[in-house]
């Protein structure tokens, strides 16, 4: 049997690839909008929403890209979704990557840094305590923890459920160390 793969692409699939691949370019435009300056997560969300709107418009109004069946729409959505996830992974690494930020701190210092200096230099001088403040703000707004005075408390239902699910997932994946 001779190996053979079919590389034909329907108009819907081609349009989905085109929109997906242009997402980083769209994001480059969105990050230059003045009122969104410094709000990285909102910028990313706006780029994705505009991308989805463009994709929907193309499928609705551009004749060669019009889908013939619901299956084609689902495949197009999966193509766009897969690229959004890939782009999110890269973007999250750049905007929230802890190890990468430490690496950049040493690079920007231009000289060797001790562990203590590195901890202080993190995030252009905000220091490691910023991580706890930032992550706690996220956990509190998600209803997973609450802060009472000097104490951080796991919320009895949602917080506990997420912690238990997390522990079970770590065990399922066989991970020895996390975080």
């Amino acid at each position: 049997m001779v190996p053979h793969l079919n590389f034909t692409m329907s108009g819907t699939v081609a349009a989905s690839f085109l929109v997906a691949l242009s997402l980083p370019l769209l994001h480059l435009l969105v990050v230059r909008i003045g009122c969104l300056r410094g709000r990285n997560a909102v910028q990313f969300l706006v780029s994705v929403m505009v991308g989805i709107a463009v994709w929907t418009s193309i499928l609705l109004f551009v004749a060669p890209a019009r889908p013939n069946s619901g299956t084609e729409i689902a495949i197009g959505a999966m193509i766009l979704g897969a690229w959004i996830l890939f782009f999110l992974e890269i973007w999250a690494l750049l905007s929230r990557g802890y190890t990468l930020s430490l690496l950049i701190a040493v690079y920007q210092a231009g000289r060797p840094l001790s562990a203590k200096e590195l901890a202080h230099a993190y995030r252009r001088g905000e220091g490691l305590e910023w991580i706890l403040r930032h992550r706690l703000a996220g956990l509190q707004s998600a209803g997973l923890v609450r802060q009472v005075g000097d104490h951080i408390i796991l919320t009895p239902q949602f917080g506990r459920a997420v912690a238990l699910t997390y522990r079970a997932t770590v065990a399922l994946l066989g991970l020895k160390a996390t975080g």
Partner: protein
């Protein structure tokens, strides 16, 4: 794209994804390579195998095979990344292990943020050949400098002013 072509491609990619899940869970449990390398490397290797396998099937469509494999695989990788390296989730687990499921802010900061998680990242930098610890402190290797330079350039391009 005819229905039989769609029919041939999709199940091959989906079965490939299930095989990837099984293979990665075995490799992760063995612990011989870094979990991140294991999860990503296994996905790439299994995908290559799926494409070769699909080429022996009757007229399978490459794009359908690929998307049926990569969409669920990327969802899995995103969840895996959160479970493996999320500071927030790790704080929740840490609180869960404390009496009354609570702790002092200063204790979480000292025990986890300033010690465990920070030391883990320093180890990752060294183990991946990105930095070396010398008597005067942490120094970037050529590989580390190239990565930091590339990341800084991408951050400027995408207007990411501060990361972490």
């Amino acid at each position: 794209m005819t229905p039989d072509v769609m029919g041939a491609g999709f199940p091959i990619g989906a079965v490939g994804f299930l095989f990837y899940l099984a293979a990665s869970s075995i490799i992760l449990r063995q612990g011989t390579v870094s979990p991140a390398v294991a999860a990503v490397g296994t996905a790439v290797l299994v995908y290559a195998g799926v494409v070769v396998g699909a080429s022996f099937s009757r007229n399978a469509n490459f794009w359908l095979v690929s998307i049926a494999f990569w969409f669920p695989s990327l969802v899995f990788l995103l969840c895996f990344g959160a479970v493996y390296k999320s500071v927030s989730l790790r704080i929740l687990l840490d609180l869960r292990a404390r009496p009354g499921e609570m702790d002092l802010y200063s204790a979480v900061l000292a025990r986890y943020v300033l010690a465990e998680s920070f030391e883990c990242r320093l180890r990752v930098m060294e183990e991946n050949g990105l930095a070396v610890h010398t008597s005067s402190g942490y120094v970037l290797t050529d590989k580390g400098r190239r990565l930091a330079k590339l990341a800084s350039a991408l951050q400027r391009l995408f207007a990411i002013e501060r990361s972490g």
